[in-house]
Amino acid sequence: MSLLEVRNLSVRFSVRTGVFSRSRAWLQAVDGASLDVEAGTTLGLVGESGCGKSTTARAILRLVEPDTGSVVLGGQDVRALEGPALRRFRRHMQVVFQDPMSSLDPRRTAFQAVSEGLEVHGICPAPRRRDRVAEIFRRVGLSGEHLDRHPHEFSGGQRQRIGIARALAVEPRLLILDEPVSALDVSVQAQVLNLLEDLRDERGMGYLFVAHDMGVVRHFCDRIAVMYLGRIVEEGPAEDVCRTPLHPYTRLLIDSVPALGARAGTVSVASGELPSPLAPPSGCAFHPRCPLAVPDCSAVRPELEVVDGNRRVACPRYRF
């Protein structure tokens, strides 16, 4: 059994359709997503803005309530938990967000931010908390002198290390990383990715890594799930998906990355933009932009099918 098993997860939001309008519409942010994260491995969840990748992560954490589907972490049905039981369970699933400046309280010191989880979950008695936090700080590449500083006194990379320390402090089994290096400079990004990799290997945590940068995902993840308009359209081992993408959308995504070594003119740029998630196209949502589309694609919505034993793709025409 996997550490995290998500089955058929759907989330929809009610949105107002105009500035002054009272009419409301349903936005299907996540539509029947299923994924697994094994302990000690990283699953990358990729896609463009609005594809539902962050909402999927938040629904797993119960920061938004899913409509349907199940989330099972270490055998525990997360959706069955309520109130204090849910709060207690949260130590097993932690999150690191993109912008540590907006997820850290500017008035609290780094020590206070990191020790809060120890206190809430009763992990470490008060007299020993400072030593414990100092130890975690050292592990993430900060030092004892950083303990009493406020968020604005740190660089972006250091703030992200505080975010990681805070998540680690409660010894989670699953760490959800929501674009954790997107706001960092390239030279600092590499340091943080290496740190996250070491921590995962040391502690055997499972990672769900939400990102839009295919280069980062290819380097960092064991498996990749690609989302388009709320649905997972492809899933498989990272290297296979990047080297031989099956779904036409994955191919577009990978061809679009201005990769080092791939010179201009080699890219097929798809016409069209992401459709509105309020009015997704019928059938396969990618069909209006798809070079392989046939009339059937607008009628039938493809389900994920297993290919080559360990890959899944939601496209009947991927062989073309």
Binding site: E48, S49, S155, G156, G157, Q158, D185, V186, S187, V188, Q189, A190, Q191, L193, N194, E197, H212, D213, M214, G215, V216, R218, H219, F220, E239, C242, R243, L252, L253, D255, S256, V257, P258, A259, L260, G261, A262, R263, A264, V267, V269, A270, E273, L274
Partner: protein, 320 residues
């Protein structure tokens, strides 16, 4: 080819309550007519301050030193009224976030008609017709109908297309594009980069393209200037810089991009963080992070690259 823009020993300082803060510290570069120069660096390296100085858009209180010549005309001594005849018509800009450059109360058509009539002696009807032509040229579907749209009704990619049309319609000699695709999804970014390449071919455009993304710069630039802590670290032909970097910083930057190569173990990273403008190191500003640094690097400032390019480094790679 003739030189369109030549920048010599340009310095930019901003006024702060603690006194002047130097953001650009004596950079020299030149752009040939019809060429694309990529200006690359991490946050705080001074690339955007350089762009603002080139466009006469520095905030009040900022001071520039050195010289910026466009077709031989000195720009640093221009008064604001003089700038108005240069900006737009001679030098045009595209920024990262089109939403903050477009007036939310004006339609796309009003933006274009006003810009065209400011710079050219056109009747309203002729300006409208020219506007439709420009929207078509930048790949906006149904351009006549789009004239009536307001910025908020457009997607990010479409807004950036409108910004490009606005920047190019006065027929500028030089386009300064400051991270024009950074806020866009990768498939849309690919479309915009393609559009810029097409327009460059059609109009013989000269461009300075500012970015932190080495993959993007490879796709657009003929020459590259790498900036670090307010100075030029390396300059040269794009292909040379990307395949055989001489400055250890350039090398480190290229290595730490989680690239589109199969992974080969840990990601090489540059130790430490980008230094703050308030606290630039002595000598070569990269020396505290550099594996090749010795005593001289901390004491003396390496010579800037000459007109033929090269690295500002005492121990450049590949040079005996």
């Amino acid at each position: 080819m003739s030189t369109l823009l030549s920048v010599e020993d340009l310095g930019v300082s901003f006024a702060t309550p603690e006194g002047p803060l130097r953001a650009v510290d004596g950079i020299s570069l030149s752009v040939e007519r019809g060429a694309v120069l990529g200006l690359v660096g991490e946050s705080g390296c001074g690339k955007s301050a350089t762009a603002s100085a080139l466009c006469g858009l520095l905030p009040p209180g900022a001071r520039t030193t050195g010289s910026v010549r466009l077709s031989g005309r000195e720009l640093t001594s221009l008064s604001e009224p003089d700038w108005r005849s240069v900006r737009g018509r001679r030098i045009s800009m595209v920024f990262q976030d089109p939403m903050s450059s477009l007036n939310p109360l004006l339609s796309v058509g009003e933006h274009l008609v006003e810009t065209l009539r400011t710079h050219q002696n056109l009747s309203r009807a002729a300006a409208r017709e020219a506007s439709v032509g420009w929207l078509r040229r930048v790949g906006i579907p149904d351009p006549a109908a789009r004239l009536a749209s307001y910025p908020h009704e457009l997607s990010g990619g479409m807004r950036q297309r409108v910004m490009i049309a606005l920047a190019l319609c006065p027929g500028p000699d030089l386009l300064v594009a400051d991270e024009p695709t950074t806020a866009l999804d990768v498939t849309i970014q690919a479309q915009i980069l393609d559009l810029l390449a097409t327009l460059r071919g059609e109009l013989g455009m000269t461009m300075i393209f500012i970015t932190h993304d080495l993959g993007v710069v490879e796709r657009v630039a003929d020459r590259i200037v790498v900036m670090y802590a307010g100075r030029v670290a390396e300059e040269g032909a794009a292909a040379r810089i990307l395949s055989a970097p001489r400055h250890p910083y350039t090398r480190g930057l290229l290595d730490s991009v989680p690239g589109f190569r199969p992974r080969t173990g840990r990601l090489p990273s540059i130790p430490g963080a980008v230094p703050s403008r308030r606290d630039w190191p002595s000598g070569c500003r990269f020396h505290p992070r550099c594996a090749h640094a010795d005593a001289v690097c901390g004491e003396s400032v390496p010579a800037a690259p000459g007109p033929d390019g090269g690295a500002a480094c005492f121990h450049p790679a590949g040079v005996p």
